[in-house]
């Protein structure tokens, strides 16, 4: 066995084509348990596409995606979530008609041991499980200081709070890896600093790995242990923050070639 521990998430030569367009080409990448990793690149580079490949929204044209050693490529998204990968979205996708509490509660669905017959019979078993979920959901909300809004409509929250709620909801699925898609978008500098602390907190408290797609370099360089850079669907660099900042290929991708 090699010295390197088995990665939590392993992407091997992942390629996806949409018609004639190769959106992601031979992408190789690994994430270890409890690592905080960043994925950056110019607009349209394929970052969200990679997210969608990992979470099963898209199926790779070729290549393999292994999670905890088992293949997940092309599986249905809800099954991948059950395996332990959660995500947030670039454009916030909360359940708009439901309260803050219900949004989190919905994420407990996959853990339910009671099915439809219990929901109808409403016996003691159901009551116990519902109580347990209530408690866990409230605790989760409390950790992120959203519990006082629990009964409010989720759309009444501030933008920053909504983004936090999306993270809380994703965490309720008890993932081993969480994918955050541009969580700092639309935030002011103070909120971004808070977000950085929040992400580090999440990584520590829940012992999970985090894959972060972000445009704000201060955020990325500030918290990521390792960063991968993609451009036109190809990985052009990988390393720690200082390595990435000096990499000529990265500079070229963002700033273009000197005339």
């Amino acid at each position: 066995m090699s010295g390197e521990p088995e990665p939590l998430l392993d992407l091997r030569d992942v390629t996806v084509r949409f018609g004639g367009l190769k959106a992601v080409s031979e992408f190789n990448f690994r994430i270890q348990h409890n690592e905080l990793v960043g994925l950056i690149g110019p607009n349209g580079a394929g970052k969200t596409t990679i997210f969608n490949l990992i979470t099963g929204v898209y199926r790779p044209t070729s290549g393999a995606i292994l999670f905890e050693g088992r293949p997940v490529a092309g599986k249905k998204p809800y099954l991948i979530t059950k395996r332990g990968i959660a995500r947030t979205f670039q454009n916030i996708r909360l359940f708009a008609s439901m309260s803050v509490f219900d949004n989190v509660r919905a994420a407990f669905n996959m853990q339910l041991r009671h099915g439809i017959h219990h929901a109808l019979w409403r016996g003691r078993g159901l009551a116990a499980e519902e109580a347990r979920i209530q408690q866990e959901a409230h605790e989760l909300l409390k950790i992120f200081r959203l519990d006082k809004h629990a009964e409010a409509a989720c759309t009444s929250l501030s933008y920053g709070d909504q983004r936090r709620l999306e993270i809380v909801r994703a965490l309720a699925t008890r993932p081993k890896l969480i994918l955050l898609d541009e969580p700092a978008a639309g935030m002011n500098p103070t909120e971004k600093t808070e977000l950085m602390e929040l992400i580090r907190f999440v990584q520590e408290k829940f012992s999970i790995a985090v894959l972060l797609v972000e445009h704000d370099m201060r955020v990325v360089m500030g918290i990521c242990q390792r960063i991968a850079v993609v451009d036109y669907g190809i990985k052009i660099a990988e390393g720690c923050a200082s390595e990435i900042q000096c990499d000529p290929a990265v500079i070229r991708a963002y700033l273009g070639v000197a005339a």
Binding site: F18, T48, N52, V57, F89
Partner: protein, 313 residues
């Protein structure tokens, strides 16, 4: 063999009607991504418009039916239907432009029901007879047709074919060579970009409705020439069948709608014509279209010529 060709001719005739109506569905879906449920009833209004106008036109020609009479009635019906389509869009659909598409679909159902039932109130529930515009009769085929002289080809069938071809050519010209037509195609690809190019989207959408409705009106006249019994509910079956045809061809795709319409007309006529040999009771005629629809939507929802659309995650 003769019988097959006969069925084919009948099927083409029916298919032309479906094609004309299907074009309206597909054009509106192309620009608005919405199924205009009320389109089949515009077809019905066309027939009734023709029924009321025809006597006036016939008076001008001293009661003699002729192709000229028919053309005048056809154009009048097309104009009336175009107008109706534009009005419906302005009153019932435009205010809902930014609402969820299901809201508009329900509104369209409401408009359809209103047209049908108001039609029953205004025109009476019973079928009425459409005046004879062309003096329909079977064409005597010249001897050099050989064995094909046994075929029954009605003047009306030839007429339907000719008019449909003319309208299709005109449509193709409008869609590819005129500014409004090009704007229509642009709208169906990207509404925002189109408006940024200085196009008034509302005008183009009105134009699309008008064009589609005019074609439906034409179909209304053409079918009334072939089957002179019209009633306010006559738009129901052809409407849904033309919709199936549009889906078959790939909804949003204009040539697809024409092909789909003709194909459906032929398939339906053949299934009914050979129903005993296929062991399908002819009472299932109307289910043929639904059956096809379900097959298409389940196996190839983009139809023959359509392109799939991805939702951005």
């Amino acid at each position: 063999m003769i019988e097959f060709i006969q069925q084919l001719i009948n099927g083409l005739s029916l298919g032309a009607i479906y094609a004309l109506i299907a074009l309206g569905y597909t054009m509106v879906y192309g620009v608005l991504r919405f199924i205009n449920f009320a389109h089949g009833d515009v077809f019905m209004i066309g027939a009734f418009a023709g029924m009321y106008i025809a006597p006036q036109v016939l008076k001008l020609s001293n009661g003699n039916p002729s192709w000229t009479v028919m053309i005048i009635v056809l154009l009048a019906a097309m104009i009336i239907c175009a107008f109706l389509g534009i009005v419906i869009e302005k009153l019932a659909y435009r205010p809902l432009r930014n609402r969820p598409r299901l809201t508009v679909l329900i509104t369209a159902i409401g408009v359809s029901l209103f047209l049908e039932n108001f039609g029953q109130y205004a025109f009476g529930v019973d079928p009425q007879s459409f005046p004879d515009l062309i003096g329909d009769h079977a064409i005597t085929l010249p001897a050099w047709f050989g064995p094909l002289t046994d075929l029954t080809i009605m003047v009306s069938q030839v007429l339907v074919g000719v008019v449909t071809v003319v309208l299709l050519i005109a449509l193709r010209f409008i869609v590819t060579k005129t500014k409004l037509g090009t704007a229509m195609r642009a709208l169906s690809v990207n509404p925002l970009a189109t408006s940024l190019m200085g196009v008034n989207n509302d005008v183009v959408i009105s134009f699309t409705f008008g064009l589609g409705s005019a074609l439906a009106g034409a179909a209304g006249i053409l079918i009334s020439i072939q089957q002179p019994s019209i009633d306010p509910l006559m738009g129901l079956q052809p409407g849904i069948k033309a919709f199936v045809a549009a889906v078959l061809g790939g909804i949003g795709n204009i040539p697809g709608a024409a092909v789909g319409g003709i194909l459906l007309g032929v398939i339906e006529t053949l299934v009914v014509g050979y129903s005993d040999r296929l062991h399908i009771p002819s009472g299932y005629r109307d289910a043929v279209a639904f059956f096809l629809l379900i097959l298409i939507l389940l196996f190839k929802p983009t139809g023959l010529f359509g392109r799939a659309q991805r939702e951005k995650v």
